[in-house]
Symmetry: C2
Subunit: 296 residues, 2 copies
């Protein structure tokens, strides 16, 4: 099965890249193939010379080898000595502060006879716009509901909890869905879960292309660009301080350039920046909290 | 004794701030006083409108209260229920890529009857310049040697090991001195160690002012500014991924704005950036390694 999953991920990378190139209408992806010394490798694709996307990467990998320590700790009884992991991860930083940053990751792990999927899609608007937030969450819910009506509420809550910048007491953005260690159970075979993961992966391109098209003509000024750089600073804080994938990658001597492609091209920090009350910036901050039900 | 140490740190903050204002000849520090809910507080001073310093902070704090978990773990046998900590920490990000970033931290801890000092000064030139590196290390050595000839070699090695960005296989800069958990022992009373800490703190302003004056007239172009932003990106990576003070502060609900004042005003990342062979940038990378003996 792992071959089938990995092949599907590879095709998904192609499909997403070509859709983003069409939507950007200017830039294109440049590919870096790499090999992992311990086994396997990947293809990192970086977007260059975009009209709309300033920096973005679509990373595919399929790696295997000796079980890393972090997995041994998670499965103390497990005797398997090798693991297999494959996945696609994406982060897009648009030029316009009116277009949101997006992130998706879908992945599959095998350790001996244990197999599981993980992943999710989440959105980080520089300016939270309720129309887009409702659209984004309703598309995710529609997709989830086709598989299991319990998925959206459960995985939406997990996203709120995961994409949280504790030291700022802010969510990274407006969340989305997030799931991990999703193993076959009485309700869902591994094939069912793979089918859900495929739906998640397939939703990415149409969803983000819509969000681009909805916002690409909105005019913005230097003030909005300044705010965008501050929000990107928060994105850096989340990824370097909390993101498990980043920490895992850096701890296990992963390919640093592929891991840190999630960082923005440029970001800023300002001491104790407080947006003006009533401004769009202040409104955005008010939405950066857990448990907002966008679909009520 | 803790009162004497804390008072000395408070005076040092004043002294360093006025020296930096004179050297900058334009900007000045703005002070934020803050209180820690669990006990104590501090004064954060942020440099504004500088000619030479683009962003910088000099933070003083004296905090006390219930022993935090990280200290309990370090001293499992200890029955004391309260701790005391005071210190000064500084980071300066200059406008010019020809002037180095500098960091100093000196601190004093008490837990029951155990008392110790920690701290250090280290330099992160955007472009490593051998003349400055030799000057910087020789001033540190001279200062250390007045206290104990074993200090410089020992604390220089500790700085090399501490200020290391493992996932980049690069040191943060050219190091300096770093010491921690420095408790009274057969060779040094706590008063001796305090005297060494005072020498370290007192060296900061003259040392950095000299480095400013040596480099402030050097002309630079857009290319050097671009490189500066990439090096600042590495500074962010070190501080958010590895720095113990930052992690401790964020983990223990410290004052986020004071902790993250170490981050640069603006930083950038570029996928797999490789400096041209033979360039000043490539030369700098070649110096970003441990165990360079600048004084041989």
């Amino acid at each position: 099965m792992k071959r089938e999953i990995s092949d599907w991920f590879l095709d998904l990378q192609d499909d997403i890249c070509s859709n983003l190139e069409v939507a950007d209408n200017g830039g294109s992806f440049v590919e870096d193939k790499w090999e992992r010394p311990g086994g396997g490798g990947g293809k990192t694709r970086i977007f260059k010379n975009g009209n709309i996307i300033e920096r973005g990467g679509v990373n595919y990998s399929a790696v295997f080898g000796d079980v890393p320590d972090f997995l041994k700790k998670q499965f103390p009884g497990e005797k398997a000595t090798t693991f297999y992991a494959t996945g696609v991860s994406i982060v897009m930083h648009p030029k316009s502060p009116e277009i949101p940053i997006i992130h998706m990751n879908i992945r599959y792990f095998e350790l001996g006879k244990i197999a599981w999927f993980g992943g999710g899609i989440d959105l980080t608007p520089h300016y939270v716009n309720q129309h887009d937030a409702v659209y984004f969450h309703s598309e995710l819910k529609k997709m989830c509901d086709k598989h299991d009506q319990s998925f959206y509420p459960k995985f939406k809550t997990e996203a709120d909890n995961y994409f949280f910048i504790k030291h700022r007491n802010e969510t990274r953005g407006i969340g989305g869905i997030f799931f991990d260690h999703f193993r076959a159970n009485e309700n869902h075979s591994l094939t069912d879960i793979f089918s859900f993961v495929k739906s998640t992966g397939s939703l990415f391109a149409p969803l983000y292309v819509s969000l681009i098209n909805l916002n690409k003509s909105t005019v913005y000024s230097e003030n909005e660009k300044k705010w965008q750089l501050l929000r990107r600073g928060r994105y850096v804080e989340f990824n370097l301080v909390y993101d498990r994938g980043t920490k895992f990658g850096l701890d296990t001597n992963g390919r640093t350039e592929s891991i840190l492609m999630s960082l923005p091209p440029i970001a800023s920090w300002e001491y104790d920046y407080q947006p003006e009350p009533g401004s769009r910036e202040a409104e955005t901050i008010s939405f950066l909290k857990k448990d907002i039900d966008w679909l009520k």
